[in-house]
Subunit: 304 residues, 4 copies
């Protein structure tokens, strides 16, 4: 597969999407990014990388971090985890508290904010220093050592936390948060503030695509079957209320973040990370979504 | 892959699930089936079949028919179809009218009843004799000529149609039904009353798994890209409010019906149909679901 | 109380509200009315009438008819009626089907469309010629003989009936409609198409205000206690999602219709009917609502 | 009116309701009350009191306190208050957070918990020592000096505050809380922990029934028109999702609390407080509701 040529074609076609969408406004740091940026990095299971654009620039991974914390929680809890969080698409906006009340405090899946808070609670119960362990895990996955949070983003997240705090208290009311609420929220804001580049993200996701290599990083180990289940959740729930659309158009398991990043995996073929800051109305990167759609269209390959 | 041996193991393990679940009670014909029945038929893209159990007995395919009508509507309308029906999971029970009102008459996807009614309306607008064409299409897909409806089921469906009639009138109120409502409903009840065996279903689904053969049956032709998109919708929406669970545990695109049938495809590998009449509380076959879960567990292969 | 002077003051103050709001557009007949019209007729329990404006012009009473059919159904069924329809405010738009599904086919109250359809079903079960009886009852209440339907409105209602037909089929699905759905809908459209003037409506409502006179008209008889309960439902449910607002600002039990009519009763004091065709966004007459608010403000009298 | 005799008849008839319902379990203090207790105190606008049962025993007034804080907030803010809280019935359970999200942080009315939190926020913005002022206001209303909170209840409320804390953070997220959330919640738990007897409550509510005496207590002054509007809100929203039922059966404005207390006013006639700890499934006192229903049935008088 001539990935390099395909990436060049994609970059060319994306020029007509420049300027579409808008920057997120809920924290100032995410609105200060150069909105024209775009990068895309593919790593194949043979460890060959194919890249185009701003693949080395760090950005806020935001909700993409939920893939990593889910992997950690699943390694600790095993299938018991599914007593506390579901695997069904949510069918509503990503902050929606409605379904949570309706379903008595069991979040629909680990990728809506409520689900990620429960996952955070699991990690706080299981690990002495979960922040350090999370960074260690991600650095190991990415094969580097320079991945850390952006302090300004972290502080800003804490200062605009009313809706997530509301969610956390409701989870507590239903008995689905065991640790101190402020500690859970603090961890959650920490994970959202992690910064990575497209290159780093594509390497960090490769272990989710490569089922032939043992998944064991920084003490976090998962069977191939569990890795596949994380992929399944990515496909059905990874793009909020637009998951069906992504599955339909791209056909790969993936996860997006409001920092403009998108990751996806083609099992046994490659992992890919794209980044462009302008978002559509559902909170997903306009050019990132389009890039991945073009990638599977041009390669003629998706999981379907 | 030793499918025959795997099927034997599956049948053995399923004995502990016998008697679990219950027969549907909304029409008497579906409740008169021998609840112990089980069959499973696999057809590989090399056209080898592997079967176990009651694979030749006909049963009511019910909602599985929505895959075939979607394929027909997509071949006629192309991407314009997505103006009238979405591709997002519904996140609620299969008859739910709520989302329909909330979303102004655009059904979330083609597999909830409201979506299937819109698909039926498309076919009535496009085809002179849509019932005959549907049967012709399915017979061509399955490579046979003996597939037809069960008249008793068809009549019973018509007599217990209040909720679907309510849905149809609401769609009409929002301008998303163009034909006579009774004609639309009549076609919908007709498609649900089609009877097929596991063997027939597995063959009829094979063209959705095999992207190397041109999809062109009885004049219904689809590009490989469109076939994949139908698969994507099956994966995210094929099992009502349990689609996430099926994707998570089985990892294949599929579709179930309240007649106890389940079909799934492993792209470029095989299609499979399982049948057992007892249903779980979500309306999916207990043993059928478990059979497919065991199949992908034992083969170690899913799309993820 | 100097009602005549107060009515003149009200008419003067209402000039600044002229032209506000819009005509209903769902059937053409309601949109052909002169939008500047305004009338208000008060009848005291001493049978003195005080009027201003276009009090003799007939208009479509629409949902105000639900008060009369409720009175009839209650006289036939007694408290058993409350097994089939509730008495709680609906808290959502007047056509909403959501709550109906959520509450298993028991409409929240008799004044939402679903509730009125159940009331219609009751009358069809109880009366041989319910249309004739309804007209006889209203003519007796109003002390006249010239009240009838507008045929054009009736025909138009039947031709724009999709949402109400949807509601009726859902009620049928839950077993809360016993008669033929088309007959139920036909009666419902008939009642909505009744035409009355402000004068006629104010007289027809007087028996709901006057608890000292026996309520017995055309064979429809109610105890004072039951009449009061109808008033209670008017106060909590009479203005769709704006009932709280009406109770808050006007302080009387009342009922509005999309024909621009509003009726209200001050128990043991008077009944009042106001009419002006332009509606606010909730479907209630702008000037009618304001007229009644001014009436209770200026008289200093409400039930509170 | 022979109130004393009527109260004796009511007490007699209530014996068949003894033991029905259950004690609230969300805080231990409310579950430790003698469940057989019952009291009822009527005070007429001529200041005559008529009582039966345990009318001097203090109990936790809980949500009844919302009437008093609403009166205070309305005296400070006037009609601007209605920019921050609505006057419509909520049509759902009393803790429901759904409508709050749907309506962008504007609680439907001041008597659902979210609305009471906004009212508390208003008081914190307007008064230096709102707790002291609230007690002073209630003591003035009741004409006494011994009304205070129950410290144990107050502490317990604070320790079981997760759902209300969730609500407060959501209100904050929508910009409808201006003060420190913990201070707002602290005041809210304080007001719920106030203890009063039936006698005290009936006197404290009398100014809401008597529109001939100037409403001016501890500096909180309201026009008769505003007092009537509070009564209107009590009638449409005072009993959570059972407000329509109370209006229908009792026909008076009123307010209940999970401590088993119920107050009501018959404008220009009397105020009444009833108390009995066992609650129905909607959270309203079983015997209290029945006592007031019998009162208006036997006197033949309601606002309707």
């Amino acid at each position: 597969m001539e990935y390099n040529q395909i990436l060049e074609e994609i970059q060319l076609e994306l020029t007509s999407y420049k300027g579409l969408g808008k920057l997120p406004d809920y924290i100032p740091e995410l609105a200060q990014v150069d909105s024209d940026k775009f990068g895309c990095s593919i790593v194949t299971v043979e460890h060959k990388k194919h890249q185009i654009g701003d693949v080395l620039q760090k950005f806020s991974i935001q909700s993409i971090s939920k893939v990593f914390t889910l992997a950690m929680a699943l390694s600790f809890e095993g299938k018991d985890l599914w007593q506390r969080v579901g695997v069904e698409p949510s069918g509503s906006a990503f902050n929606s508290i409605v379904q949570l009340e309706y379903e008595k405090g069991i979040p629909r899946n680990p990728f809506i904010n409520a689900g990620a808070l429960v996952i955070a609670d699991v990690l706080l119960s299981r690990i002495n220093n979960p922040k350090a362990k999370l960074l260690e895990f991600i650095n190991m996955l990415a094969g580097g050592s320079h991945i850390d949070i952006n302090i300004d983003v972290y502080v800003s997240e804490k200062n605009t936390s009313a809706m997530n705090t509301s969610l956390a208290h409701m989870l507590k009311a239903y008995g689905n948060i065991n640790n101190d609420i402020n500690a859970v929220l603090d961890f959650y804001f920490f994970q959202c503030a992690i910064e990575m580049s497209c290159e780093e993200l594509s390497f960090a996701l490769l272990p989710f695509a490569d089922h032939t290599t043992c998944f064991n990083y920084a003490g976090i180990s998962l069977s191939a079957s569990r890795v596949k289940r994380i992929n399944a959740i990515m496909l059905t729930c990874g793009f909020y209320d637009e998951s069906g659309e992504f599955s339909f158009k791209v056909g790969l398991p993936g996860k997006s973040g409001v920092g403009g990043g998108i990751v996806a995996v083609h099992p046994n073929k490659y992992s890919v990370a794209a980044w462009s800051p302008l978002l559509n109305e559902k909170g997903n990167s306009v050019m990132g979504m389009k890039a991945l759609e073009l990638l599977t269209t041009k390669t003629g390959l998706s999981v379907f």
